[in-house]
Symmetry: C2
Subunit: 200 residues, 2 copies
């Protein structure tokens, strides 16, 4: 039996990631640097995906011009917080992600698993792109940002406006910045262990 030290996170880190973190709806007047976005990506890219397929594609909208292109796709409830966020990320995925598998997963002919099954490819892109979107939310918290994820928008409009040239598909949006606590809603309840889990 090998013995490797267990390195659980301390209470402050658990608070930062899960227990005290909140979805931001209002933002401090404090910019997010491109350097921080690179730092964010360098964390989230390391999260696991199936056969390392890494299908997520991320558009970081930082300028007023980019935000204006997004505006027509937003639902009314998401409009103000998104237009005022320092950065809004379009979390998308590449349906043809398998073209990069010879680089990403060189030990097997993984590309053929997906070119032979369009349904598997579509499910894999959505599942793993979503996993990477979750890694983005938690990596944002890890680098000191607050996140505001949302799926209330018109995916087809976003795809047409931003993603048509590369053929990518939008999944959800995440506002990034430094949250203003004045914009927080009361915390909503979660399901108890026995409601959501089974021990077998």
């Amino acid at each position: 039996m090998v013995t490797v030290p267990i390195q659980a996170l301390d209470a402050a880190a658990r608070d930062r990631l899960f227990l005290e973190a909140r979805t931001a709806n209002k933002w401090q007047d404090r910019p997010v640097s491109d350097r921080t976005l690179h730092e964010l990506y360098d964390l989230l890219k390391m999260g696991p995906t199936s056969a390392n397929c890494s299908p997520a594609r991320l558009l970081f909208l930082r300028t007023p011009e980019a935000k204006e292109r997004l505006r027509p796709a937003l639902s009314s409830g998401n409009l103000d917080k998104t237009m005022t966020a320092p950065v809004t990320v379009i979390v998308a995925h590449d349906p043809a992600f398998y073209d990069l598998l010879p680089k990403l997963f060189p030990h097997a002919d993984a590309k053929s698993w997906f070119t032979s099954s369009p349904a598997l490819a579509e499910t894999t892109a959505f599942r793993n792109g979503t996993l990477q979107g979750a890694y983005l939310i938690l990596a944002a918290r890890a680098v000191g940002l607050d996140a505001g994820p949302m799926s209330g928008f018109d995916n087809a409009k976003v795809d047409a406006e931003f993603l048509a040239a590369e053929g990518w598909k939008s999944n959800f949006l995440v506002n990034l910045g430094y949250g203003d606590p004045a914009g927080l809603f009361p915390r909503s309840p979660r399901l108890d262990f026995d409601e959501a889990c089974r021990l077998l």
Copy 2:
């Protein structure tokens, strides 16, 4: 302008969650307690979901009997590591998650958003159940466990064997335990920022 202290995670925590964490394929002979599984759930349940819908349902397979029920659904490449893992989690979701929205999201009639659109309900369950599966992977690392997520298995067999009574649907599997570094594969490359990201 409010000023709230930024609390980014330190290097050790970033290593534990993202940079040094690895998908485990071999396990130390060290059990995972039910208390640790509750600790895990109490972190992951706090991660954000759309309208707090929390569709994930988690089956923790701990006993040899439960593992044997899973065996026929596993692909050959995932068999040994799964049968020897202290715990295997079936990450599933409840397609009728919206029935709990009056409890989870009491400020609006969110249930009607989904009962009026089965396609939206299905996409929302899969997307948000997957987000919660990613929270589980990172929460496992946060409590000192190693994770081994995989989607190489027969979902229909798992649904029939474990989930038929409640109508839940399997998404992916995650082995949990304390990894043996002897089972690690060399790290695979990730996409560079410019391959996966756009700054607009």
